[in-house]
């Protein structure tokens, strides 16, 4: 349940039976004969202990995995079909699809859905573009390279709560730093807490601040795997730095960009802490007018403020559907684009 943005391994985990499987096959000795261990299972498949050993090794993980990972997922479906109140968590009354019907009728659900998408776009796109820029800056010979990299992670090490509390002060309407700076520049102050667009921008800026450096490091790692000869060749062909970036760097970053886009999108659909704490005092409603209430916050409000856990479970499923639809749309788009490229 820890924060979602833990860097997930490679974007493409090894397919079963490849890679690792090939490596693990070597139970032979160097000469290629099966090691004859005097009766100790000459035909044994694994280089360690007994046949049960692998299962014993993965058991602790899967034990917790089953109890706290798989079980709740399955049980969410069950809960969403019942009326369960937080006041009496042991009692559940079967209500069928009632929770879902209520959801589709609830203007606040649609509002939260739109807010989630808008804030998601406002935070993900700038975050990844800025990260690309920062990574490109770091990908040259630099003094203090290590220092810049650690600095890039300082916002990531700042918790959602701490960051949001500070930003909420920055964006104060009457004496916040943002409006003071606008005033110095001769511009009118903005109501960052209540403006429908201003508040979404403000919440997005917290996300951008926290994650830009982190994504930049991921891009930087990918940039360093681009063969340097390609740059040299491009330079010999007279390609400008910009063209090199477009035609050498970006193609090499494709997996990393896909990976970060995936993780950021998943993160955006779950946005919770920032909107919860940004509207000081407003709490779970996400602003006086629900103007920055996200789906995650709406789930919390239904379950833990209004005490309807069944409805909260239905919202959780709706969130998964949103993600699946998003990725489906992206896949379709990619298919269309690929066809377009082939046709041209």
């Amino acid at each position: 349940m820890t924060e979602t943005r833990t860097p997930t391994g490679p974007a493409d985990p090894p397919a079963p039976g490849t890679g690792a499987g090939l490596r693990a096959r070597d139970t032979r000795d160097v000469t290629g004969r099966r090691a004859d261990l005097g009766g100790r299972g000459a035909a044994r498949r694994t280089p360690v202990g007994s046949r049960g050993a692998p299962y014993a090794l993965v058991a602790p993980f899967f034990l917790f995995f089953g109890a706290f990972g798989v079980f709740p997922l399955v049980a969410t479906a069950w809960t969403s079909l019942h009326r369960v109140e937080l006041t009496a968590p042991a009692e559940a009354e079967w209500v069928g699809l009632h929770n879902y019907a209520r959801l589709l009728d609830d203007a606040f659900f649609w509002n939260a859905l739109v807010n989630t998408v808008v804030i998601g776009v406002l935070s993900t796109v700038p975050q990844l573009l800025l990260a690309l820029g920062v990574a490109h800056l770091l990908d040259v010979r630099l003094r203090g390279r290590g220092l810049f990299r650690v600095v890039a992670l300082a916002p990531y090490a700042t918790s959602v709560a701490a960051a949001t509390l500070v930003f909420a002060l920055f964006y104060g309407r009457d004496n916040g730093m943002a409006n003071w700076a606008l005033g110095v520049a001769g511009l009118a102050p903005v109501d960052w807490q209540n403006g429908p667009w201003a508040s979404k921008l403000a919440v997005s800026s917290i996300v951008v601040w926290r994650w830009t450096g982190y994504n930049a490091l991921i891009y930087l790692a990918a940039m360093q795997t681009v063969p340097r000869e390609l740059y040299e060749a491009a330079a010999l062909d007279g390609a400008s730095r910009w063209r090199q970036f477009l035609h050498v760097t970006l193609p090499g970053l494709r997996p990393a960009i896909l990976f970060t886009a995936l993780v950021s999108t998943i993160g955006a659909t779950q946005l919770f802490g920032e909107p919860l704490l940004f509207g000081s005092g407003a709490g779970a409603s996400g602003g006086a007018d629900h103007q920055f209430q996200t789906l995650g916050l709406y789930l919390y409000e239904q379950g833990w403020v209004n005490l309807h856990l069944g409805r909260a479970a239905a919202i959780a499923w709706a969130m998964l559907v949103v993600l699946v639809v998003l990725f489906g749309a992206v896949q379709l788009l990619r298919g269309v684009l690929a066809r377009g490229e082939r046709a041209s």
């Binding site: 360690v48 997922l73 300082a154 709560a161």
Partner: protein
């Protein structure tokens, strides 16, 4: 990370080059030198990254009246000790820090242990259902944690664990990322011959793990430990659901209380944010290089 001094690269002890297996020996950075424009832009990036943190400290050293005045303060005041003390007691940040240290310590220790054992089995052993199990682990990485919170809360409530720290620790011990992280590392760090040799010597599973696998896994275990510590320290959604400010708050739960106005004084709120963030900044200052390496290795195909 363990500074591998590869030939062909001048090792300046302080660089944290991501040692992805496929980084090419000599050309770790593009050969051109950074111009002043690059430094100027990086200076801006650094300022933007650090300013909110520095200003948290500035705000924590002032009074709430001064924070509510225009222009906002940019220099340190004299109120820091008083505000820290108030945050420590009134907002229960003191207790929360102890709780969070316990939680983050337990979570990172457990995550590292389970991930190493499972990662080793997946990397080096062949067994039935290996592929299926691995796919199961991978699949959970894409599922939002929100999806499980309601039943999880019901379980916790039935066990009477609301407001108990184990409610936050146990669900966090499952880290699919951790398993893949260790799998990738051990696949390279454990040659088949070494395992074979252990078997020749008649070592059983336990002894092999203890004498062969753990030493080989140590550097990656340290990095994974740090990454999980940071993640557990900053974990927000589930702790806010499972714990209350009046029971056994973690730092994030206590800060949520501050954000909702348990303490109206904004300078104390900032002092709380500072207290909650400082320990991790210290960790970052001490082990930043390794954490950077971990983040950079997290995404590059190994």
């Amino acid at each position: 990370m363990g500074d591998a001094r590869r030939p062909g690269r001048a090792v300046r002890g302080r660089t944290a080059a991501a040692r992805g297996p496929r980084t090419r020996g000599a050309g770790l950075v593009r050969t051109e030198r950074a111009g002043w424009g690059t430094y100027a832009l990086l200076a801006v990036f650094t300022a933007v990254s650090l300013f909110p943190l520095v200003w948290t400290a500035v705000a924590a050293s002032r009074t709430s009246t001064r924070l509510a005045a225009t222009p906002p303060p940019f220099r340190f005041g004299r109120n820091l000790p008083r505000n820290l003390e108030l945050a420590w007691t009134d907002a229960r940040l003191g207790e929360a820090l102890v709780n969070t240290a316990l939680v983050a310590g337990a979570v990172s220790a457990g995550t590292v242990l389970f991930s190493t054992l499972a990662g080793f089995a997946f990397a080096k052993l062949r067994f039935r259902f290996r592929g299926t199990l691995l796919l199961l682990v991978a699949g959970t990485m894409l599922i939002p944690p929100q999806l499980g919170v309601v039943p999880l809360y019901l379980v916790i409530a039935r066990l009477r664990w609301t407001d108990e720290l184990q409610a936050v620790v146990l669900p966090s011990l499952v880290s699919a990322f951790g398993v893949f992280f260790m799998l990738q590392h051990l696949r390279r760090a454990l040659p088949a011959e070494v395992l074979e040799a252990a078997r020749m010597d008649g070592a059983g599973t336990l002894r092999t793990v203890w004498h062969v696998v753990l030493p080989a896994a140590r550097p990656a275990m340290a990095v994974l430990g740090m990454l999980s510590f940071v993640a557990a320290w900053n974990d927000f959604f589930w702790p806010v659901l499972a714990l209350t400010q009046t029971g056994n708050p973690t730092v994030q739960v206590a800060l949520t209380g501050l954000g909702r106005g348990t303490v109206p004084d904004q300078s104390v709120v900032m002092a709380g944010a500072l207290l909650g963030t400082l320990p991790l900044l210290v960790v970052l200052a001490l082990f930043g290089r390794h954490i950077v390496g971990g983040v950079m290795r997290g995404a590059v195909k190994g």
